[in-house]
């Protein structure tokens, strides 16, 4: 009897243990999400597609989709769990401004300062945000969710996370993964559009080399840039303030250690945390929905609209410029930000048609203007829709 009692006791415990394992709670959705996570890791490791982002996000997706019994303070949505504590940076929106601090500290705005008219390309490419916003409204999303989806077109992961955390926290996972995925796919999405809307003659335009920018101008840029943009759109202060502050640390020449920390260890730490927790937030039950598919479709469209708007705007702008000052429309795509990938795309497509026409430095102008433009656009959406 005692033996039987022990065996049934052991069996009950084993059954209970099995109930706690992920195998007992596994669903089809979890397996799909784990496969998506593995795909991200595959693309990052073997194809070298945005590995800094896709490795943490891919592994985060796998972490977030190991099923468990609720109540053990394990999941990213369970209050008090380690993942939940790390996720607060995404939910409350303090990771994105820290990343912007690092971006500011590593970005050289010289190309933009030397040729300030390139800023307008960065503005034109933000049309992708509002094009996607209109399409999202047509797809039946409420205005706040449409705004959060539209920001994918800004091609700026931290901005997308910041805005969706405020306007549509339920869609944050889908929006963040969509934004980062399409940023990784910039070399695939943009070149066909760039070729479609430009003639061979336009692709061969050689631009004037950028002039040398003095350190004084570089110091003025973050201070004046912040004052002008933040006074106009105060809701963009968290992003714009940190971006320009980081750049001031870099350029002022007296805070080298702070700048190195901001663009080195700090941004690395925050990138790890933001990628991992955004990935973990894509739990199958919250992520595998019809809305997520719609968001992915809208994200792709927003990138296409932004690229088209940037290229067409340069062509339009060229109508008013003297022959020697024309802009190569192949740098129009760089206005979508996605720093520095879209600038690299401009350079690579340019080199296909003229092996000596290096567009990289010229494309960096609209590229960093796109960062400023998308932060301003995020501030406007936040001001209007929150």
């Amino acid at each position: 009897m005692e033996n039987q009692g022990f065996i049934s006791f052991l069996w009950d415990n084993l059954q209970q243990f099995f109930g706690y394992t992920a195998f007992a709670n596994f669903t089809f959705g979890h397996s799909v999400m784990i496969l998506i996570g593995l795909l991200f890791l595959f693309l990052a490791i073997t194809k070298d597609w945005e590995p800094m982002l896709l490795v943490p996000i891919g592994f985060g997706i796998i972490i977030g989709n190991i099923p468990f019994l609720e109540g053990l303070s394990i999941g990213v949505y369970e209050e008090g769990s380690v993942m939940n504590i790390l996720y607060q940076g995404v939910r409350l929106g303090f990771y994105p401004p820290l990343i912007f601090l690092g971006i500011g500290a590593m970005t050289d705005f010289s190309a933009l300062i030397s040729n300030p008219k390139l800023m307008l390309i960065g503005a034109a490419a933000q049309f992708g945000i509002f094009g996607a916003y209109g399409l999202a409204l047509l797809f039946g999303f409420p205005a706040n969710e449409a705004g959060a989806i539209g920001i994918i077109g800004g091609a700026d992961g931290p901005t997308a996370i910041f805005l969706s955390g405020r306007l549509a926290p339920d869609l944050l996972g889908a929006i963040a993964v969509s934004a980062y995925s399409y940023m990784a796919l910039v070399p695939v999405i943009q070149p066909p559009i760039m070729r479609l809307f430009t003639s061979k003659k336009e692709r061969l335009i050689r631009m004037k080399p950028p002039r040398v920018v003095s350190q004084r101008e570089k110091i003025f840029f973050p201070i004046v840039g912040f004052l002008l943009t933040a006074l106009l759109v105060p809701s963009g202060i968290p992003l714009l303030g940190m971006l320009f502050f980081g750049n001031l640390l870099k350029e002022c020449g007296v805070t080298r250690r702070l700048a190195e920390t901001a663009r080195g260890p700090l941004i690395d730490i925050v990138t790890i945390l933001i990628g991992l927790t955004v990935g973990a937030s894509t739990q199958a039950d919250k992520f595998l929905q019809w809305n997520s598919i719609k968001i992915f479709m809208l994200g792709a469209l927003s990138f296409m609209i932004a690229t088209t708007a940037g290229v067409l705007f340069v062509k339009f702008f060229n109508l008013f410029l003297k022959p020697g000052n024309k802009i190569n429309p192949l740098i129009g795509n760089a206005g979508v930000s996605a720093v520095p990938d879209s600038a690299r795309v401009s350079n690579n497509v340019g080199l296909e048609y003229d092996k000596n026409n290096y567009l990289l430095m010229h494309a960096m102008g609209p590229n960093v203007a796109g960062v400023i433009g998308s932060a301003v656009a995020a501030g406007i959406l936040l001001g209007f829709l929150s």
Binding site: P116, K117, L120, Q126, G134, V224, L228, T229, V376
Partner: protein, 329 residues
């Protein structure tokens, strides 16, 4: 630096100076609503009904009113000191607190040492005992007045007149702001409220969320696109104008400096317009000149860039070296 640049900086400073500053401090507290005659209204923790005073924190940060004073006498602003150290004196952002005007201060932090029947004015003073943060004239014995209420309809809740009173006070009718903490509206934003709201918003104007309103008026996002793109363009055009001028000023300044130093202006322009490759070549040449003096194969005044070649050997390759080569002492 040119005069134009100084002007831009000055304009920026003026813009900043003109911007209103908002601090999260005791200065953000407002007397928000008072009830003088309480016969069938809010009860204190002892189950008694008294007149009450509601304070409102207008700021976006928590404010501690511990140490502040409330009085009904202009000549004695320190009549009742709100005790320090009570956690309940911390008013959360955009929240309220109620003080009982029962002249029984021994009953706790929120029971003041005067009643409202004898009060025609209230003064809330900061913890230094000098600065009156907010004051209120209570129209005791004055009238007649309209009494306000709010009704719900398809446009949200709206404030409407609901009868009148011959004089104040009238039982269970409070005197409060129409919008919490604000002076806007008729009679400096104050009204007699038939629905008293201690520790709550005086009038809840239930309106649709901004996002819903936006979708209602702009179902296709066209207005949003035009407005927002205009703002983005304005922001970046402003930057463009400013930096175009700063760039010009910088170039002019460089020219002037060069002229003073005796360098021809054309030479400066050429130097400014030189492509990046030229600078890269000069930098590498200088590096070689400073670091590797043997690079001068002809004479000291000529810089030569030689292609660096090193014979490959697996013995010297780093990739095959598992550990550092031991040093012989």
């Amino acid at each position: 630096m040119s005069k134009r640049l100084y002007l831009f900086l000055l304009a920026g400073c003026l813009l900043l100076a003109g911007a209103p500053a908002v601090a999260q401090s005791q200065a953000d507290i407002r007397i928000n609503e008072v009830l003088v005659s309480n016969t069938d209204d809010y009860e204190d923790d002892y189950g008694h009904k008294h007149g009450w005073i509601e304070l409102f924190n207008t700021s976006r940060g928590t404010v501690d009113i511990g140490g502040c004073y409330i009085s009904n006498d202009r000549n004695d602003l320190k009549k009742y000191r709100i005790p320090k150290g009570d956690v309940l004196t911390k008013i959360k952002p955009r929240q309220h607190i109620v003080l009982w005007a029962d002249n029984k201060p021994l009953r706790g932090t929120f029971h003041v040492n005067f009643t409202l029947e004898e009060t025609s004015a209230l003064y809330f003073t900061s913890s230094n005992g000098r600065d009156v943060v907010d004051s209120l004239h209570i129209p005791i014995g004055e009238g007649p007045f309209s009494v306000m209420d709010y009704i719900a309809n398809d446009k949200g809740n709206q404030v409407t007149v609901k009868g009148s009173i011959p004089h104040y006070p009238v039982e269970n009718v409070s005197y409060g702001r129409l919008m919490d903490g604000e002076d806007a509206g008729g009679a400096n934003g104050w009204a007699f409220l038939v629905k008293t709201t201690p520790s709550s918003n005086n009038v809840i104007l239930d309106s649709e969320a901004a996002a819903q309103r936006f979708k209602q008026f702009d179902p296709y996002g066209v207005i949003m696109a035009i407005t927002a793109m205009s703002v983005v363009f304005v922001a970046l055009i402003l930057l463009y104008i400013v930096f175009k001028n700063i760039g010009r000023a910088s170039i002019n300044s460089g020219r002037k400096k060069a002229e003073k130093a005796g360098v021809a202006p054309d030479a400066v322009a050429v130097a400014q317009d030189a492509p990046g490759e030229v600078y890269a070549a000069i930098a590498i040449a200088l590096h070689l000149y400073i670091q590797q003096e043997e690079a001068h194969d002809i004479e000291n005044t000529i810089l030569t860039i030689n292609k660096v070649t090193r014979t490959y050997s697996p013995w010297s390759s780093k990739i095959y070296g598992l550990r550092e080569i031991p040093h012989k002492q």
